[in-house]
């Protein structure tokens, strides 16, 4: 199929969102963006109260907040799209929580299972030590910066607007994490060693950032998304520059050598299950709870 297909498939009635095989690729595309930022935001928030020093505890918590805010924007849009295409949902979409067939940002974040999540594998990796966390942030923010920059030209107004907003915030994240990579790489013997271990851990997940899933290809074709494989060389260039200043060795290019992929298609590492168990426990144990 070469046409951008927007026909609707039945929705999972307990989670109000399409299965991975949904033919509505715009919904899948939006959920992928939202899942990326939610999972990374959640991971970063695990540092709150445990940061190495107070100012950096605050910094990573603020970054988490920015990311979760971006998720909200994408989830709200996804919910709107799902409700618009679902004949069972309430007339003005985004209806009351708990109404059958109505999706909301909350149901999408808290009631979907691991195989429905479309985040890339990099963001669900464990925090490890500070070196691993800031390296993960750098590798991802570098990608996010280039992605949002490209999405400014999206034919979809909402995606372009969310990208415009998010780009400003990601600029701060990229600068912060780049500086940390340099501080730790070109730091003490121990910090340098920990950075090397972090690179060993995370590099295999960078390839996935530039391998488009089916919905990304469809979105790019429709002028709504962008061809992420084209972002790779600029991403590599920036990574190389920062690694050089950090006296860190340049790993082999993303996509050469062995890479773990398929997070975007709902096949996750063991970590996502634990993340969701913690994050979704309250909403699943007490459905519809409010305070």
């Amino acid at each position: 199929m070469t046409e951008f297909d927007s026909t609707y498939q039945p929705v999972n009635q307990s989670t109000y969102q399409p299965f991975n095989q949904s033919t509505n690729q715009l919904i899948n595309y939006t959920l992928h963006q939202a899942d990326n930022t939610l999972i990374l935001g959640h991971r970063n928030s695990e540092w709150t109260g445990h940061g190495p020093i107070l100012e950096q505890d605050i910094a990573i918590s603020n970054i988490a907040l920015d990311l979760i805010g971006q998720s909200r924007n994408f989830y709200q849009y996804a919910a709107q799209l799902i409700n618009e295409s679902n004949p069972n949902s309430s007339p003005n979409g985004g209806g009351r929580e708990g109404a059958v067939g109505t999706a909301s940002e909350d149901s999408l974040a808290y009631l979907r299972d691991g195989w429905d999540f479309k985040n890339c594998l990099l963001v669900e990796q464990t925090n490890g030590d500070w070196a691993k966390t800031i390296l993960r942030q750098f590798l991802f923010s570098n990608y996010q910066y280039l992605l949002y920059e490209a999405l400014l030209k999206s034919e979809d107004q909402t995606i372009a607007a969310i990208s415009e907003k998010s780009l400003k915030e990601v600029t701060y994240h990229l600068r912060w994490s780049s500086e940390w990579v340099i501080r730790l790489g070109d730091g003490t013997e121990e910090s340098h060693r920990r950075m090397l271990l972090a690179i060993d851990d995370l590099w295999k997940f960078t390839g996935e950032l530039f391998e488009p899933a089916e919905y990304e290809k469809q979105a790019a074709k429709a002028g709504i998304g962008t061809d992420i494989s084209l972002l790779k060389s600029r991403w590599q260039q920036i990574t190389d520059q920062v690694f050089e200043q950090a006296t860190l060795p340049k790993p082999s290019l993303a996509n050469e050598g062995w890479n773990r992929t398929k997070g975007k298609e709902g096949q996750h590492t063991e970590h996502l299950g634990y993340i969701l168990a913690e994050m979704q426990f309250l909403q699943r144990a007490y459905p519809g709870c409010e305070w």
Partner: protein
Amino acid sequence: MSEQAENIISNDLKKIWDILAEINDPEVPVLSVLDLGIIRDVECIPDTEEIRISITPTYSGCPAMDMIRMNIRMALLEHGYSHVSIQTVLSPAWTTDWMSEHGKEKLKAFGIAPPTAKQQVCDIRLFHQGEAIPCPQCNSYHTELISQFGSTACKALYRCLDCQEPFDYFKCH
């Protein structure tokens, strides 16, 4: 629309803008939502009682926005406007350029350094020494950045090397 109907609408609009001027940012209570520049539009829909308010968030994750939305709704309800719809507009993206000059003065009096007049978004140059930010307590320019991330999403943390006080800086955005 008759001239009379138009007059009624413009009176209502003025009243509503006045009501909005009283609604403050819950985190920085010296600033009203108008000072912040987050109210993008107010419309009285003709032939209905509906008031439509368009707001724009400062930062994506700003937790104050939900509270501000609620406060707007309640304030308008208190003044008899019960059919209010509040829309969030993401584009054009909010910028500190939309903060009123009066708002910036109030920030400084409150102890938060206001965003600098020369608009700077985050400078991507690593370890770059940005424009000096004056201390809101003693006005010295002998200040240093501790972290780009301060007590809230919109603020950075600085320290004054003269009076030794730390202070928040409202980041250019």
